[in-house]
């Protein structure tokens, strides 16, 4: 026996059944759009006037954040917390994906060394940026789970982001340890970013005494790729999983999809 879907709809849900695209791309929210556009322009302007990449990208990042917050505020009152948080996370994740795309372009196309391919704002301090970012993603995912984002893809995403955060925690701890040793050496000016993590060709899995000489050291990609490529794919996976999880949530939820019957 199917329930009347209109009774389950959020009070502010538009009359026309929305699509995922409708949620993701703001059409009428000029403020968010303007902030986003200004973010891009400010970044370009910073580059043109010769600012370091991370400093040029910083105002743009703030504006981008403001745009997402504006959108989140609107979505929260219109569609509820889950949708608002999902959209915000997905938008931020997309922005973070740009960061990794920039790294990928710097390394593979522009010919920077792996150490110098630090993306846009990560050039300030890649380890801090990624440590904070990934813990942020994980906490938001846990909050989403708490709020009701529960489908198989969301669970996979939760696992994925936990693993990703674990690697960045490992990287961050080693970053701090190396900095401490460098300080003791009197080499405090040396950056300790870009150290090998768990995966990749110089990672723990490939170089640990435990796995030395075993097949684990030569798993294509997992223990043979550079750190930069490993983390590019970490983020591609995270973005895709989040998109599928969000899509599944919206289309399985009668609140947003009238075609769903109880």
């Amino acid at each position: 026996m199917s329930a009347d879907s209109s009774s389950l709809r959020h009070p502010h849900t538009p009359t026309q059944p929305p699509t995922v695209l409708h949620y993701l791309i703001p059409e009428r929210h000029w403020l968010a759009l303007a902030l986003g556009g200004a973010a891009i322009l400010m970044t370009l302007l910073g580059i043109v006037i010769g600012q370091p990449l991370w400093r040029a990208a910083l105002p743009g990042t703030f504006l981008f954040t403001a745009a997402v917050l504006v959108r989140w505020y609107y979505d929260r009152s219109t569609y509820g917390q889950v949708i608002a948080l999902m959209v915000a996370l997905l938008t931020f994740q997309g922005g973070h994906g740009l960061e990794h795309l920039a790294q990928w372009v710097q390394y593979h196309l522009l010919g920077y060394t792996a150490r110098a391919s630090s993306g846009l704002i990560s050039a300030a301090n890649s380890e801090w940026v990624h440590f904070l970012w990934n813990w942020g993603v994980l906490l938001v995912m846990l909050r989403l789970y708490w709020l009701g984002l529960r489908n198989p893809w969301a669970y996979v995403m939760l696992f994925w982001s936990t693993a990703h955060t674990a690697e960045h925690t490992y990287l961050f701890v080693r970053h701090l340890e190396v900095l401490q040793i460098l300080k003791a050496y009197g080499e405090a000016g040396v950056t300790a970013q870009g150290l090998p993590g768990i995966f990749g060709n110089d990672g723990w899995l490939a170089r640990s005494p435990t796995t030395a000489g075993s097949w684990v050291c030569t798993i294509p990609g997992l223990t043979t790729a550079t750190r930069l490529d490993v983390h590019f794919w970490w983020n591609v996976g995270e973005t895709i999983l989040l998109m599928i999880a969000a899509y599944t949530h919206i289309h399985r939820n009668p609140q947003y999809n009238p075609a769903v019957v109880q």
Binding site: G111, T113, L182, E187, W215
Partner: protein, 590 residues
């Protein structure tokens, strides 16, 4: 329009796919031709080629080719190895008196130390040693047997690379060396076996600066030619930028003429050449020149076509700072493989990384899109498209520390080529923050099991003595490879091989003329399961020299045929060569 085939059509990789399905992957539905599902074609066009690339890539290495040419008869002398005294499954250390010195605190480039060479200078059948010295005289260590050496100073000051090689073809081993900030000198053997002595040869190579060198017969005229490479980073640091100095830099080939004079050809105007090798890059039967350069300077390759040398870049990837070359056939496909060593920490603990970071962070910040340089060891294999592809990652051999001399050698005689790398760095301008300005590392012995390399600390080759030059040779005629390391600021070490098991064969070649050891000859040893390629060379590793012999570890394999391609292209064959022997093969004239 090509007809569509069902996905069940047999393909080269269908067996692999079946394996996938058996292991739990859902079997895709069988889709017959002309169904409307385009996914049928997608699978065929995408998945199968991908699987083919992944699973069949390893088979694209060029297969061994058979040498053809005029056969030339040989005479063979077989000398059984002496029985090993000990079997402790490890190496035993013997210390020499020779110490390569440098003014302290050691500054950059003096830190690079010197080489060591092996050869029989007094024709007594035992391999002697010559140890170079960057800030002192070189030492001749005459092998009196039982790992006892008489050490004699040589009139060779401030030497870098060193080799024992019969330069004038009189049948007696001479000594050739490069000098700090200078060129090449040669000590000719006076043939006084009881007390070896030498006199300096008056051979002009022009105003060249040489750091590394290679003696080789490139044109098959039975005379040894010389290739030298400068190390411009050191020269520039010393302020050597005058016109004279600029003209003395680069890579040169000095072709020996019939009157023993040399004709010099400049191949490049600059170089940071730490190692030089002769290798048939394009499989045309002629050895080409490969120069391994330090820093951003890319490795250089010149193909040999008649009297012309053509520069090319055949390597998929190379080390960033190529420290050492060695050539052998580590995968037993009958073709040469090139081991190129680089600096890359073998451990990734935080202490090691912190020691390396101040140096690596000062290295180049830019690499062009076509730059093949990676900061790790490379094992390059020639493919059927004549490109050379790096397999070091797939066999876990990318990282051996701040490696200097790095060599292939079947240390345990099991039939697989192991790797030994000596390493460490000491320079106050690089490591002012470390005690004694020294990056202390364990030398790395990597055993190959036929699939991948793994460290073997139980062999007791993991000294921390700042090794630079290194050679592997049989010092007691028991068939096992012993090791000699020329350390910087500490006594040189001889490692006696007391590993157990396995079987060996050593081959030496002899011919008339001024290349009596047949340097440049190539050998293929066939067993029931594999073909091992090898070459006769005096130059292997970093600044170091080797006896002009080939050592085969065979494990339990039985050799069926040994084929020799002499430097002039003539062929000789030895059926069923005996294991456990030193095989001296002499070619009939011409």
């Amino acid at each position: 329009m090509p007809s569509r085939q069902p996905t069940t059509k047999s393909t080269p990789c269908s067996s692999k796919r079946s394996l996938l399905w058996r292991s739990g992957f859902p079997r895709p539905p069988i889709l017959y031709p002309y169904t409307k599902k385009t996914s049928t074609m997608n699978r065929t066009q995408i998945i199968i080629p991908l699987l083919a690339i992944v699973t069949c890539a390893c088979t694209s290495i060029a297969p061994a080719t058979h040498w053809s040419g005029t056969q030339i008869p040989i005479t063979m002398h077989v000398q059984p190895f002496t029985a090993s005294n000990q079997c402790t499954d490890s190496f035993v250390t013997h210390q020499l008196a020779h110490t390569t010195v440098a003014p302290t605190p050691v500054r950059l480039f003096l830190s690079n130390g010197s080489g060591v060479a092996a050869g029989d200078v007094n024709s007594d059948g035992l391999t002697d040693l010559v140890l170079a010295n960057i800030a002192g005289d070189a030492t001749l260590a005459v092998n009196d047997g039982s790992f006892s050496f008489r050490e004699l100073p040589l009139d060779l000051p401030n030497t870098r690379a060193i080799q024992i090689v019969d330069v004038n073809g009189d049948g007696f081993a001479d000594i050739s060396a490069t000098h700090l900030g200078a060129g090449v000198s040669i000590l000719l053997n006076n043939n006084t076996p009881a007390q070896p002595s030498f006199h300096r040869a008056q051979i002009a190579f022009g105003n060249i600066r040489a750091y590394s060198m290679l003696w080789h017969d490139f044109n098959g005229d039975q005379r040894l030619d010389l290739v030298t490479g400068s190390y411009d980073a050191e020269a520039l640091r010393g302020g050597a930028q005058s016109l004279f100095d600029t003209q003395s830099s680069g890579v040169f080939i000095h072709t020996q003429n019939a009157d023993s004079s040399f004709t010099t050809t400049r191949l490049s105007e600059s170089a940071n050449a730490l190692s030089i090798a002769a290798l048939d890059i394009d499989a045309d039967g002629f050895d080409d020149i490969v120069v391994g350069n330090d820093f951003d300077t890319r490795d250089m390759v010149w193909l040999h076509h008649g009297n012309l040398w053509t520069a090319t870049e055949p390597f998929e990837s190379t080390p960033h700072s190529t420290m050492s070359y060695d050539i052998a056939d580590f995968n037993h496909d009958g073709s040469p493989d090139l081991l190129a060593a680089d600096m890359n920490p073998y451990a990734t603990d935080v202490t090691t990384l912190a020691q390396w970071l101040p140096v690596t962070s000062r290295m180049t910040q830019y690499h062009p899109a076509d730059d093949p340089q990676l900061m790790e060891n490379a094992i390059l294999q020639r493919s059927s498209d004549l490109r050379w592809y790096n397999t070091s990652r797939s066999v876990s051999a990318t990282s051996t520390g701040w490696s200097w001399s790095t060599r292939f050698g079947d240390l345990d005689s099991d039939g697989n080529l192991d790797i030994y790398a000596v390493n460490g760095m000491i320079a106050f301008d690089l490591f002012p923050f470390l005690p004694d300005h020294a990056l202390v590392e364990h030398n790395q012995a990597l055993r190959y099991d036929g699939v991948r390399y793994s460290a073997k600390p139980s062999w007791k080759l993991d000294a921390t003595a700042q090794g630079r030059g290194m050679t592997m040779t049989d010092l007691n005629n028991d068939g096992r490879l012993d090791i000699v390391v020329n350390n910087l600021l500490s006594p040189s070490i001889v490692y006696e091989n007391q590993l157990c098991g396995g079987s060996q064969m050593i081959v030496s070649l002899h011919q008339a003329g001024t290349n009596p050891s047949a340097v440049g000859a190539q050998l293929r040893l066939s067993t029931a399961t594999a073909t091992r390629w090898a070459t006769i060379t005096n130059t292997r590793g970093y600044l170091s020299g080797d006896t002009p012999t080939v050592h085969y570890g065979l494990g339990t394999e039985v050799p069926l045929m040994l084929t020799i391609r002499w430097p002039d292209g003539l062929i000789s064959s030895v059926p069923n060569p005996p294991v456990g022997t030193l095989l001296s093969i002499e070619r009939s004239a011409p």
